[in-house]
Assembly symmetry: C2
Homo-oligomer: 215 residues x 2
């Protein structure tokens, strides 16, 4: 970019906002949020610091929350799967999209989930928890359950947490095992933990029977 024709003049408000969020997510991907300054974001986006402040007058905290919100929205879209075909195939497709998101956002995904930054607040925790809740609701809807009992809810939420943990380890381990194996393995674990719960819970037992007949 040459000083005489700064690229940032060419963008509209929404485009500019998106560009700044992208730049911020890229930086948060590789450094703890407390080590990212607004100057860094301005430099990464090729714009001036005042411009960053014009879009995010609340400074870094506002920018961080907006970046997290934008990533969370994108993540929730991964779970948006039509209710057609065998359930475990739908779950595989949703996991494919989710794992592609993890792959793309990489260290940024870890930073978002692991927290522990000075800009983390109850609001940012609420955003991440909202994604978890949305994932659980999607799964229960696909399972056709409108009033999930405690044991079924716990099982689904425990599996979602295990998937998160698997994603973080997968990123740490140079994305091994291969993504297709990881996806199949996670689906198998879902069936396994549901089957364990089925021994203690009639509602889950009925679902496991239906799943077995579904393939």
């Amino acid at each position: 970019m040459t000083p005489s024709a700064p690229a940032y003049r060419r963008l509209g408000v929404e485009e500019r906002r998106s560009q700044l969020l992208e730049a911020a997510l890229g930086l948060f991907a590789h450094r703890a949020p407390e080590d990212v300054s607004l100057d860094d974001v301005a430099e990464a986006a090729g714009v001036s610091r005042p411009l960053v402040y014009r879009y995010f007058p609340g400074g870094k905290q506002q920018l961080y929350e907006a970046a997290l919100r934008s990533a969370a929205d994108e993540l929730e879209q991964c779970f948006d799967e039509p209710r057609d075909g065998p359930l475990l195939i739908r779950l595989s497709r949703a996991l494919d999209r989710y794992l592609a998101f993890v792959d793309e956002h990489d260290a940024g995904f870890s930073a978002l989930l692991q927290g522990g930054s000075v800009v983390e607040t109850s609001r940012t925790t609420a955003i991440v928890d909202g994604v978890r809740r949305a994932a659980a609701e999607h799964i229960l809807r696909h399972l056709g359950v409108t009033e999930p009992g405690l044991r079924l809810r716990m099982t689904v939420r425990m599996w979602i947490t295990a998937v998160e943990a698997a994603s973080l380890i997968w990123l740490d381990e140079s994305k091994q095992p291969p993504v297709g194996e990881l996806r199949d393995w996670l689906v198998e674990q879902f069936v396994a933990v549901l089957s364990v719960t089925a021994n203690r819970d009639p509602q889950t037992a009925a679902l496991v029977t239906a799943l077995a007949a579904d393939g």
Copy 2:
């Protein structure tokens, strides 16, 4: 306590420190750390604010980290199980101690694990991660594995995360299901996810065979 004979004169340095940490943990148990002031801690402990500062000159952040460290040490002791008898019995006993810790610390346990407070930092995250790592090492040691492969490590860490999630939901759900059922259910899930991994990993397959012969 009467003003003429304040109780806090009677305690030694270590006792006083413990008392302040207890008071702090009690407060963090029911409120977000950012809503707890040093005045609150002083009041809960029945001491003066300057006394709290004498023990924790770094203020609330230092007190919070010390309280977290103290809870983490206690938690790690839960995993300290002799290597005698069938493995799943040892796992049950360790889970009993862990769940008793969760029961006792209640909302404070949630606060410690869920983070999202303004006093959370990379140091506090490291403390919580250290407990997770210690739990994984204990399990692998009991399994007799010195060089765990990726798939086994992932399985153990995913289960630990699922146990954490179960604990948090259990606290949210008025401690239902009963603690004995929860413990057995978690042990069953451990066997189930190991068995799924065994289909993909010879090292885990050998462990599952050994576990089945162990009872």
